[in-house]
């Protein structure tokens, strides 16, 4: 090493060390960037480079030739030179290593579209949960690549839904959704799904919580499910015409594991329901339609009918914490739901006895609640409705809005009975009772402090295999003073009876 002025110059020649010039340009730049280094050049000793090096003020040994690598560093101290050489060694060594990425030959880039991911993986199903305006492109991509698709997204235009379902029908594929939150395929729960045993019943459901109630009760009766295929809430509307229902029925009919097929739906369009019934009659597998509507059987009744067909005894649907003697309550029925179909079913049952039920998803347009969702009489609110979930998670995940409303009902002297649903299973809150039980206890205390009796009735949709633990959840809710039912229909009838008792 030699010093000129205050700088330390270091020049060395590595004999017979060849590195290409482009790589050495990168190495030089890296070394020049080392702290304390003023100038650095690492280059093959070609005539051109020797000129460059002497122009930079370095003295190069006369015998350096084009097959030798020259390392020339000018730095503020010996330490800085040593650091620069260490950096140089690393940089030169890394040339052969592909930059230290650990994957010299580049991995497969992550898929950027559903279509590509299906093409690469060969998966038979894609789950699309992008914002509604973009769902069509991704779902169509899945169909183009040859897979069926579950569209969780809502706010998908109905003409897009029809087109997706027609395209799927042409290609022998299935579109579940849009706005499909529940499916069980080959024992795997997709979205919100209860853990149920495998068995002979195939379900096609245009209703998320309807499917969950149906499959949970079957499980409770000891009967398993082959598959539960979601259809999307609009599938049995006039516009969509049951396109996915037919595709699902055809698939379940061809599935050797399925011995009985059940269609669960919110109130369908009558002509579509009639067509579907006609189509179902052509299949080899018996089909039961559980279509909610005024005067129609409940979901629980639908389950019981299937049990009869399978020769299975109807169990006593479990309840927890129901007092031997019904309390005397005075006031209206207030239903606070997370599940839209459970809310529908409860309104249909309650209306038979109580007459008009106001709601944000009313049975008739004239029963719609005003914007503030307030009314003196009986009302039922679906907190899972699109208008209440914008910008916030579904109430099956985030109980906030519902708990606030429960507190409000407790303080309202017009409230006699609060009816709530609690849904367990995949996708749902990890411990719904953890939040709800204390709120139920507090609500009952609030009413008691005001000299009123507030009855809380809970429809608990779940199975003993659900991750939340059915018995523990039920016990916690019962301990807080709620009457808990596994059948939503039974819970509703009990609540209606309490209210009616009060009115009498």
């Amino acid at each position: 090493m030699s010093a000129t002025g205050t700088d330390v110059h270091h020049v060395e020649v590595r004999r017979g060390r060849y590195v290409d010039s482009v790589s050495l340009m990168q190495v030089s730049a890296t070394v020049a960037g080392t702290p304390g280094v003023h100038k650095a050049q690492v280059a093959m000793a070609t005539e051109l480079n020797l000129d460059v090096l002497s122009g930079m003020g370095f003295d190069i040994p006369a015998d350096a030739g084009p097959n030798d690598m020259v390392v020339a560093v000018s730095a503020e101290s010996d330490e800085a030179v040593a650091a620069a050489l260490a950096v140089m060694e690393d940089a030169v060594a890394s040339i052969g290593r592909g930059g230290g990425s650990g994957d010299t030959f580049g991995g497969e880039p992550t898929p950027r579209t559903t279509r590509w991911a299906v093409e690469r993986s060969g998966a038979p199903l894609a789950v699309v949960s992008v914002p509604g305006e973009h769902a069509f492109a991704e779902a169509m991509g899945a169909l183009d690549a040859g897979s069926s698709v579950l569209v969780f997204s809502d706010n998908v235009p109905v003409e897009h839904e029809v087109l997706l379902k027609r395209t799927a029908a042409d290609r022998g594929l299935l579109v579940m959704g849009p706005d499909c939150g529940t499916a069980i395929v080959g024992g795997v729960g997709l979205g919100f799904a209860n853990v149920v045993r495998q068995g002979p019943v195939g379900v096609a459901a245009a209703s998320g919580t309807g499917a969950q109630q149906f499959t949970s009760l079957l499980h409770t009766a000891g009967v398993g499910v082959s598959h539960c295929l979601g259809l999307g809430g609009r599938d049995l509307s006039e516009a969509v015409g049951g396109l996915s229902a037919r595709a699902a029925l055809a698939a379940l009919d061809a599935d050797p594991a399925t011995e009985v097929i059940v269609v669960v739906s919110k109130p369908p369009h009558p002509a579509v329901a009639a067509d579907l019934q006609e189509y179902a009659a052509t299949l080899a597998t018996p089909v039961h339609l559980v279509l909610l509507g005024a005067g129609q059987p409940t979901i629980t009744a639908g389950v019981e009918k299937v049990l009869v067909e399978l020769g299975v005894d109807r169990p006593d649907w479990p309840t927890w914490g129901v007092p031997a003697e019904a309390p005397r309550v005075d006031g209206a029925l207030r239903g606070l739901f997370a599940g839209g179909t459970l809310c529908d079913e409860s309104m249909l049952i309650a209306a038979e006895t109580l007459g008009d039920i106001r709601s944000n998803i009313p049975l008739r347009p004239d029963l719609a609640l005003p914007a503030g969702l307030e009314h003196d009489g009986h009302l039922m609110i679906d907190f899972g409705d699109d208008t209440l979930t914008q910008g916030r998670p579904h109430p099956m995940i985030d109980p906030g809005l519902r708990l606030a409303r429960l507190e409000k009902e407790a303080a309202d002297p017009a409230t006699g009975v609060v009816l709530l649903d609690v849904v367990l299973g995949h996708g749902a809150h990890a411990d719904p009772a953890g939040d709800l039980a204390p709120a139920v206890a507090a609500a009952r205390r609030t009413a008691a402090d005001a000299g009123r009796e507030l009855a809380v009735v809970i429809s608990l949709c779940g199975t003993d295999a659900d991750p939340q633990g059915l018995e523990a959840q039920a016990a916690a809710l019962a301990a807080a003073g709620a009457s808990v039912f596994s059948s939503n229909a039974a819970a509703t009838r009990y609540a209606v009876a309490l209210v009616s008792g009060g009115q009498r």
Binding site: P109, V127, A137, S148, V185
Partner: protein
Amino acid sequence: MNTLDLLDGTPSVVGTGVALFSDALRAQGVDVTDVDWTPPPAGTSAALARVLADARRVEANKLAAERMLAAGAELVDVRLASEALDLQPGHFLHAGPPITWERASGPLRGALIGAVLFEGLASGPEEAERKLAAGTFTWEPCHHRGAVGPMAGVVSPSMWVFELTDPSSGRTSWCSLNEGLGKVLRYGAYSEEVVTRLRWMSEVLGPALQSGVRRARDRGAELDMLAIVAQMVQMGDEGHNRNRAGTLMFMRDLLPDILEAGVDPLRLAEVVRFIGGNDHFALNLVMPTCKLITSAAADIPGSTVVTVMARNGTDFGIQVSGTGQQWFTGPAQTPSGMFLGDFGPDDANPDIGDSAITETAGIGGFAMAAAPAIVRFIGGEVGDALTATRLMYQITTTENQRLGVPILDFRGTPTGIDVTKVLGSGVLPQINTGMAGRVAGVGQVGAGLVTPPMECFEGAIQALAAAAPTLG
């Protein structure tokens, strides 16, 4: 695959959107492939849906792919542009979409000035510039005549052009002869040295090549350029920034015919020395080969396949099969890469040239995996080159088995850019390119990577949507 497959056994699932769903599935032991999804550009989702809903799309794109893969390219002649392209005096062709003098970039202006001087239509650069600005001359895109030109792409009547024909369709394409690197017309240089070289090319190079090419043609041995491109891809060329193997093969194949044609040995030596000293000579043969491939896919109603990507130094323009010759443009981007000598990013002009026809046909940046020798020139590692090519499969319709990439187990190059896939994935086509100096007369300043602006694809999807039948 059909619905029954879905019900048969534990499914594997693709997840697009909320990560919670994929997590829940993994917890149940399901094999999940996650999509790295980003929304398409604002304002395009309705048009994208409309185009994806077009019942003609799938078959139209299949047809476009079949035609691209069936296209061939044979070198059938070398002749004057005035004859081949019916180019009249005072009329010029240029790269990219149409452009006025006012909006033209430095290198395009420089090349037009040089072409005016070469044609003897002005006594000096000032007069040439004045006349160009005054509207004395006319110009239009090479693509409007089925031709292509690298960088500024300026073709004047007295220049010589390669003429290539697709035997499957009879379609023809043309490209000028490559001048070499550094201070050359196509990079906007117009000094005496540049014009002198152009004169030599017209007097010596063009006629010599013509005699050899015609002799080969007359004995029924037309040079199969597609076969050369296929070999290039196996020999480390990607056909855009590296054409070294292609240039050597071209010389090897043509030389016997030029010799037999009786070209003067001293002139022949000049020709061979010139071609041998220019590793990019074959680019001007690869480009019309690619133009024949992409033209084969043009004008199919409902097809969303890109048939042209071209830049004039100001605008980047694309054409799409389903919308014919309509240009969709956006501002040309400045490439990033490595610079010659003292030049830096401030010296570079925005992207210019018809050479992105190579990427449009599935090579160039799309075949980056085939050219590991030049990955450092574009600032990457060998692995990056493989990843780059693999990513392009996500935005293309087919794979060209005739152009197999050895390091990808001879997988065919990703071919046929699909507008809907570009918008759906947010992945833009990768283009390898040279960089011209911003100022007229400077010439080449570097080489690197560039992408088209997303605006081109946004414009295209709106036009495709407008041309699609109504839903239902």
